[in-house]
C-alpha cells in the first residue's frame, strides 16, 4: 500500500457512499473526485448532477477547479438552467448529495453562514450556495470536513443546512423536510454515522493511524461510539490511481 493523504482517504470513503445507479448531486471539491472514482469503479450506472446546470455520466476528461469548468460541460448529458436541476431534487430524485461544511454539530446540522451573531459576526462564512437545498431535498447526504474541535461543535449557532435539527425523533418529518437527512460525516480522522430515522452521530470508524482518544479530543461533543468501532478501510491501489488521474497536480488532495 502506497502512502496517501487524509484527503485521498476521504475521497475514497466518500466514493464508497455512491451506489450503482445513484443520481448524485455532486457539489464541489473532494466530492467531484469521489464521483469520478465511483463512476470508474463500482458505480458505472451513476449519474452526476451539478447545480450550475449540468448532468453527466462519464467523469470529465480534464482537471476541474469548479463544476462549471469547460471539461465538465464537454460530453455532458444535459446542459441547462439551475432551476431544472433543482426540479429533479425537489421531486425527490436525487439519491445522494455532498455538502462541504465549516461547522457541524452532533445532530448533523451544518453552519456555513455565521460564526457568532449574524448582525456582527466573528466570522462571515460564504453562505449556503446549494448546501441547504441539498440538505433539505436530497434523499440522503454526506458531508466532508477537516476534523478540528472548533468545527465539530455541540450545537451550531446557525443552521444553514439542517441535519436532524434538535435531535428529537422525526424532527425532519415534523418540520416538513422532504429528504432523509445526513448519512455520514467524513472527516480527516474518522467517519460518523447516524441511526436509522435520524438523531445523534456516532463514531463508526477511525482512520488508520488514528485513535478513538484522538477523535474524542478533537470533537466538541460527548463522543458516542458505535457498538463496534472499526478501522476505516484504506484507499485501494485502484482508488488511489483514479484519484491521482483526476487530480494530477494534487490541487485538491495534496495541498490542503
Amino acid at each position: 500500500m502506497s502512502d496517501y493523504t487524509p484527503q485521498e482517504l476521504m475521497v475514497a470513503v466518500a466514493s464508497r457512499e455512491i451506489s450503482d445507479g445513484d443520481l448524485v448531486f455532486v457539489g464541489m471539491r473532494l466530492p467531484i473526485l469521489a464521483y469520478a472514482v465511483a463512476r470508474n469503479a463500482h458505480a458505472p450506472g451513476a449519474r452526476g448532477l451539478f447545480e450550475v446546470g449540468l448532468m453527466r455520466d462519464q467523469p470529465a476528461a480534464g482537471f476541474l477547479g469548479t463544476m462549471g469548468d469547460p471539461p465538465n460541460v464537454a460530453g455532458a448529458l444535459w446542459a441547462t438552467r439551475m432551476s431544472n436541476v433543482m426540479a429533479l431534487m425537489a421531486q425527490g430524485h436525487v439519491d445522494l448529495g455532498f455538502i462541504g461544511g465549516a461547522e457541524v454539530d452532533r445532530f448533523g446540522n451544518l453552519n456555513t453562514s455565521y460564526v457568532g451573531d449574524p448582525v456582527r459576526p466573528q466570522v462571515k462564512l460564504p453562505g449556503s450556495g446549494g448546501g441547504a437545498d441539498i440538505a433539505i431535498l436530497s434523499r440522503r447526504w454526506v458531508t466532508l470536513m477537516s476534523h478540528e474541535r472548533r468545527r465539530l461543535v455541540e450545537r451550531v449557532s446557525f443552521i444553514t443546512s439542517p441535519g436532524y435539527g434538535d435531535g428529537t425523533p422525526y424532527w425532519r418529518k415534523q418540520n416538513g423536510l422532504l429528504g432523509g437527512g445526513p448519512a455520514a460525516i467524513i472527516t480527516t480522522l474518522c467517519v460518523f454515522r447516524f441511526p436509522e430515522g435520524g438523531g445523534e452521530a456516532h463514531l463508526a470508524s477511525v482512520h488508520p493511524g488514528h485513535s478513538v482518544d484522538e477523535v474524542r479530543a478533537e470533537t466538541g461533543w460527548d463522543l458516542k461510539l458505535a457498538e463496534r468501532v472499526s478501522e476505516t478501510a484504506q484507499p485501494t491501489e485502484s482508488e488511489l490511481t483514479a484519484i491521482r488521474h483526476f487530480d494530477p497536480a494534487g490541487f485538491w488532495t495534496r495541498t490542503a
Partner: protein, 297 residues
C-alpha cells in the same frame, strides 16, 4: 434600426447608476462579467445591491472596492480557494463600509428571480424549511409547510456570453445557472460578448437566444471579459489567478495593491488582457455542435 453596441465605459455609465440593484455572475462559475465589474469599480459606483447565486470572487472585489451596500446571494467567496476576504471584512468590521446581507440558497435566489420575471410577489418552495436562513432574510417566510420566496427585481442584469449581435440577441452555451430568469426579471440587460456577430448568425439559431432583445439596452464587444472565469469554447478557467487573488486580498493593503494593478491602473479590458498570459488560457481543442435545421415551407 439603431444598434446597441457601445464601449464598456459608456454602458456602465449610462445603465448602472449609483444605488441600483445589479444581477451578475448568473451562470455561477463560468461567464462571470469581470470586465463589467471592474468598470463599475473604476467609475466609483456606490450603494449598489448585488444579486446572484454564488459569485466567484467578483462580488468580493466590488465589496472591497466600496461599491456595495447590500448583497442578495446564496454564497460569496472564491470557489476554488474558499473564503472571500473582502466580504469577511465588510461583514465583520464594516471595512471599507457596512454591508447588509440577504442570504439565499441557490434554489431560492432562482425562485426570487422567477417571481420577479412572472410579476408575482412570491413563489412557494419546499427548500429552506428548517434552515436559520429564514431568520436572517425578511424576504423568506415559512407558512403552511412551504416557504414563500419574495421576488427580487434587479434594475439591471449584466451577462457575458460567447456571441451577440448589435441588437442584443445573445447566444450562450454551457450551463446557464439563473441567467434566463435574471434577464427576464431585470428592468434592463447589459450583454458583454467574446464575439460581436452579424444578426444572420444569432437569428440562425433562435432557440439559443437568451433574452428578448427588448430587454437588452447595451452590447459590449469585450474579448476576455470573463477572465479569470471560463468561457466554453474560448477560455479555460485561470485557477492560479484565483489563488493569487485569494492570497493578496487577505489584507486591506494587499487587496488595494491587487485592485491597483488589475483594475485602477488599467484603462480598459484590452489593456488588462495584455497583462494576462492569454495564449495559455485560450481553448484550442474545439468541439462545434451539429447545426440544427430550422427548415420551413
Amino acid at each position: 434600426m439603431p444598434g446597441k453596441a457601445m464601449t464598456m465605459a459608456e454602458a456602465i455609465s449610462r445603465f448602472v447608476p449609483d444605488g441600483s440593484t445589479v444581477a451578475m455572475g448568473t451562470s455561477l462559475e463560468p461567464l462571470i462579467p469581470f470586465a463589467a465589474g471592474h468598470e463599475v469599480i473604476r467609475q466609483s459606483k456606490r450603494d449598489l445591491e448585488l444579486v446572484g447565486p454564488i459569485s466567484d470572487a467578483l462580488f468580493d472585489q466590488l465589496i472591497g472596492a466600496g461599491c456595495v451596500r447590500r448583497v442578495t446571494a446564496a454564497w460569496v467567496g472564491n470557489v476554488s480557494e474558499g473564503l472571500g476576504h473582502c466580504y469577511r471584512r465588510a461583514c465583520e468590521s464594516a471595512v471599507p463600509r457596512s454591508l447588509e446581507v440577504h442570504d439565499h440558497t441557490n434554489f431560492s435566489i432562482s425562485l426570487a428571480l422567477w417571481a420577479a420575471a412572472w410579476n408575482v410577489p412570491s413563489l412557494p418552495t419546499r427548500t429552506l424549511l428548517g434552515s436559520d436562513i429564514l431568520r436572517t432574510n425578511p424576504g423568506l417566510v415559512a407558512s403552511g409547510g412551504l416557504v414563500q420566496v419574495e421576488a427580487v427585481r434587479p434594475d439591471v442584469a449584466v451577462v457575458h456570453v460567447q456571441r451577440a449581435d448589435e441588437m442584443g440577441r445573445a447566444h450562450a452555451w454551457g450551463p446557464l445557472g439563473v441567467t434566463e430568469e435574471a434577464g427576464l426579471a431585470a428592468d434592463r440587460v447589459i450583454v458583454t460578448c467574446e464575439e460581436l456577430v452579424d444578426a444572420s448568425v444569432t437569428l440562425s439559431d433562435p432557440n439559443r437566444i437568451l433574452f428578448p432583445e427588448t430587454k437588452v439596452v447595451a452590447v459590449v464587444h469585450e474579448p476576455g471579459g470573463a477572465h479569470p472565469s471560463p468561457v466554453q469554447g474560448f477560455f479555460k478557467r485561470d485557477h492560479a489567478f484565483y489563488r493569487e487573488y485569494a492570497e493578496q486580498s487577505r489584507t486591506v493593503d494587499g487587496f488595494q495593491a491587487w485592485l491597483g494593478r488589475w483594475v485602477m491602473e488599467v484603462p480598459d479590458r484590452a489593456a488588462y488582457m495584455g497583462k494576462v498570459d492569454s495564449p495559455s488560457l485560450q481553448i484550442t481543442r474545439h468541439r462545434p455542435s451539429e447545426p440544427a435545421d430550422y427548415g420551413d415551407e
